[in-house]
Amino acid sequence: MLRYFIRRLVLTIPVAIGILVISFMLTRLSGDPTDLLLPPDATDSAREAFRRNYGLDQPLLTQFGSFVVNAMRGDFGDSLRFHEPAMSLVMDRMGATLELAVAAMALAILIGIPTGVVAAYKRNTPVDISVRGISLLGQAMPSFYLGILSIIVFSVWLGWFPSSGRGTWWHLVLPAITLSFQLVALIARVTRSCMLDVLGQDYIRTARAKGLGESRVVWLHALRNAFIPVLTVLGLQVGFLLGGVVVIETVFSWPGVGRLAVQAIYARDFPVVQAVVLLFAMIFVFVNLIVDLLYAAIDPRIRYS
């Protein structure tokens, strides 16, 4: 198990290098930050001075060489807009993003799983049909649209929640619900179909036959067996969440990494884009490693060597 864990950890190194190379190349292909950070009618000599200051006048290979050397030391360069170390800008905003992502994930688990279980248990009843309908709607509706709609309804019309920003728990409600909406729908659907499969198994009949209470059969015996695919989906959906915060943080003016990333992309703030991409990729890799380890904890038949 430990050897497996270490092997997986070592494998993240080539992944990180690959990410760095790809993000470096893609950002450079996308244009010149000088065009966005200076006025269009800036003089040629001012443009040259700007490019010299940020090393943009160097050949691409030289830029890449110094980028790799510095990145290995943990230095991702300074933001072209804020003139601060890119990684520290990203880490400063990580707390806000984690708060939002964890809240959304918690909602997805706390609402999605029980809803899926109930829908499966009450298969083809009005409860099941409405859960399926709402899930379909939830997965189909784009989150930016849902976000704006919820601001209009719950902030402007009803006045229940603030329309934007971060601060109190009230500020968290609308963005967290909006971010989790698609995820809740997906988890409910996956849980439902896995539960349907498990509820038809012989061991469930056996559990009932030996006189176990229905709730014990469903929530302990069935759900535990149905949980592995749900866990896989949850792990993969961390990627969806990290992508989702980019949209939700912009709609709700949430001061997190996603919004920083959007603005950095628009302004061709290369160092910040690279730092965000690497960090998000590493989070995704580690979460999925943890999910793999959790499989073994949930299902004793799974062993890593």
Partner: protein, 506 residues
């Protein structure tokens, strides 16, 4: 430092309580929603209005261009005396200190102008500081500036020089200064949570008339248009910048908010590149004129901007600017004439042409381009619309890969010289190479006499109207919303907001 800040805050609170007791202004926090969080609060760090608005509430300039009068008025300097065409004596305001106690004097101003002249530190201002040759202290309140040539936009340049405290600047450096500036302005820096809120409190020792009733400014970056509008409607924000055009009907019917529409300095146009290297039918002046007749700019103004955008009257200078030519008018929508002119120029069946357009850079950009393409189709010109992401659009503007035909909104500094120089043959994104135009543009750039200069630009506008290097579309409109209790806020056409005459009523 924190102690002195606390005592200032306490004094401000005390003063505002006294003011309340006297039945005067109502003291309150004003929340301002802009699109972006500032990158730096040092106004000479960038030219982006969201940065400048916040920064110049703390750090003041030598002069300011008052949007209410349109004039350049004294701020930290009181008088400019032109000793010759290239030498100016600047008299500074007496008795002004920075909030850290440093005096605002000739040393501070010389230091600040030297920074302004250094394009390594202020690349975004190099175009206006280009002709500054040297600066020296004459006495404690007098500074001499020497220019390398006659500079008609000198006053405009002076209105952009922010004055910083030299000792503090030298101690902390440019970057740190921008994060926590010290100035002479009506507000003092309090705190800044990036991408969330920037808090400033009223400067109790302000040398001028402080904004009435405002004890605190909180700047909030809200990138989503709909969220800025929502925050205004819920009362979370008292001033909101850059509202979408579609919010106009909503705000017109809401008594609790005021709608402010400001004619923008941005001139929207379709570039019709006609230089030798850009081969296309647009090289024929008759074709360029025909396209002007083919586009109904008034319909675009009415349908896409609720009538609030500004007709250009066939020129790129705005009515209040010197050099605006009152004898010119719009080409007018005349598709019959356009078709006839195209036929006469050898295109009876029209032609096909690439038409590049940014998506998401300007208000309604995609819609305007689609409308223009539709109107051109009416006269037989098939415009292949190519939409570009804003960053890529700007890159192609610089290299003129946008040619032969493109939609652009240009907002140079508020001087006819800067507007005109964008059509100089050698300028990197000029759509035209015309010697006669060049002569006028260069003459205007160094003409010291205001009336002669205005005449040069009037002639240039007439020539440009006839040469039609662009389709003259419309002048932009900036939309602001405020709490109805806010009075005196007059934003400028370059997106700048000042608090000098702002009042928050009870």
């Amino acid at each position: 430092m924190i102690g002195s800040m606390l005592s200032r805050t306490a004094t401000a609170a005390l003063l505002s309580t006294m003011a309340l007791g006297a039945g005067a202004a109502y003291a309150e926090t004003v929340n301002i929603a802009q699109n972006f969080d500032p990158q730096t609060l040092w106004p000479n760090g960038t030219t982006a209005s969201d940065n400048l608005n916040a920064g110049s509430a703390i750090v003041e300039s030598l002069f300011w261009q008052n949007p209410a009068s349109g004039e350049i008025e004294p701020l930290l300097a009181t008088v400019v005396e032109m000793v010759s065409d290239t030498e100016a004596l600047l008299t500074l305001r007496e008795g002004v200190s920075f909030t850290n106690g440093e005096p605002m004097n000739a040393d501070a101003v010389v230091h600040s102008i030297e920074i302004f002249m250094d394009e390594e530190q202020t690349p975004a201002y190099a175009r206006v500081s280009d002709l500054f040759e040297s600066v020296e202290k004459v006495d404690d309140l007098t500074v001499r500036i020497t220019l390398s040539d006659t500079f008609p936009a000198f006053m405009l340049a002076l209105s952009q020089i922010s004055v910083v405290p030299p000792s503090h600047w030298n101690e902390v450096g440019l970057e740190a200064y921008g994060q926590q500036p010290i100035g002479t302005g009506p507000f003092v820096f309090e705190s800044w949570t990036r991408d969330d809120r920037l808090v400033m409190s009223a400067n109790a020792d302000y040398w001028g008339d402080a904004p009435d009733g405002i004890t605190e400014l909180v700047w909030r970056p809200v990138p989503e248009d709909a969220a800025r509008l929502a925050g205004l409607q819920t009362g979370e924000f008292q001033i909101v910048k850059d509202l979408p055009v579609s919010s106009i009907p909503t705000l017109e019917n809401d008594d609790s908010v005021s709608l402010i529409t400001v004619p923008s300095y941005r001139i929207y146009q379709i570039g019709l590149a006609s230089q030798e290297q850009h081969e296309s039918p647009l090289q024929d002046v008759a074709v360029r004129q025909a396209l002007n007749y083919a586009v109904d700019s008034q319909l675009i103004i009415d349908a896409l901007f609720f009538g609030r955008a500004i007709p250009l009257n066939g020129q790129v200078l705005r009515e209040p600017q010197p050099g605006y030519n009152p004898d010119l008018g719009d080409y007018g929508y005349d598709p019959e004439r356009a078709r006839a002119m195209l036929a006469e120029a050898g295109y009876p069946d029209g032609f096909e042409i690439d038409f590049k357009c940014p998506s998401g850079r300007y208000a309604q950009d995609r819609e305007v381009c689609e409308a223009v393409a539709g109107m051109l189709a009416e006269v037989g010109v098939t415009a292949n619309l190519i939409m570009l992401e804003p960053g890529e659009f700007l890159r192609q503007l610089r290299t003129m890969e946008l040619a032969p035909m493109y939609f652009v909104g240009l907002a140079p500094q508020d001087d006819p010289g800067f507007q005109a120089s964008q059509y100089l043959s050698e300028w990197r994104y000029s759509p035209i190479a015309n010697e006669e135009m060049d002569e006028l543009i260069l003459a205007g750039a160094t003409e010291a006499d205001p009336e002669s200069r205005a005449q040069i630009y009037r002639d240039l506008m007439a020539l440009m109207h006839e040469q039609a290097p662009i389709i003259f579309l419309y002048g932009g409109v900036d939309i602001y919303g405020t709490d109805a209790r806010i009075t005196g806020l007059e934003p400028r056409g370059d997106g700048r907001m000042f608090f000098y005459n702002v009042e928050l009523e009870e």
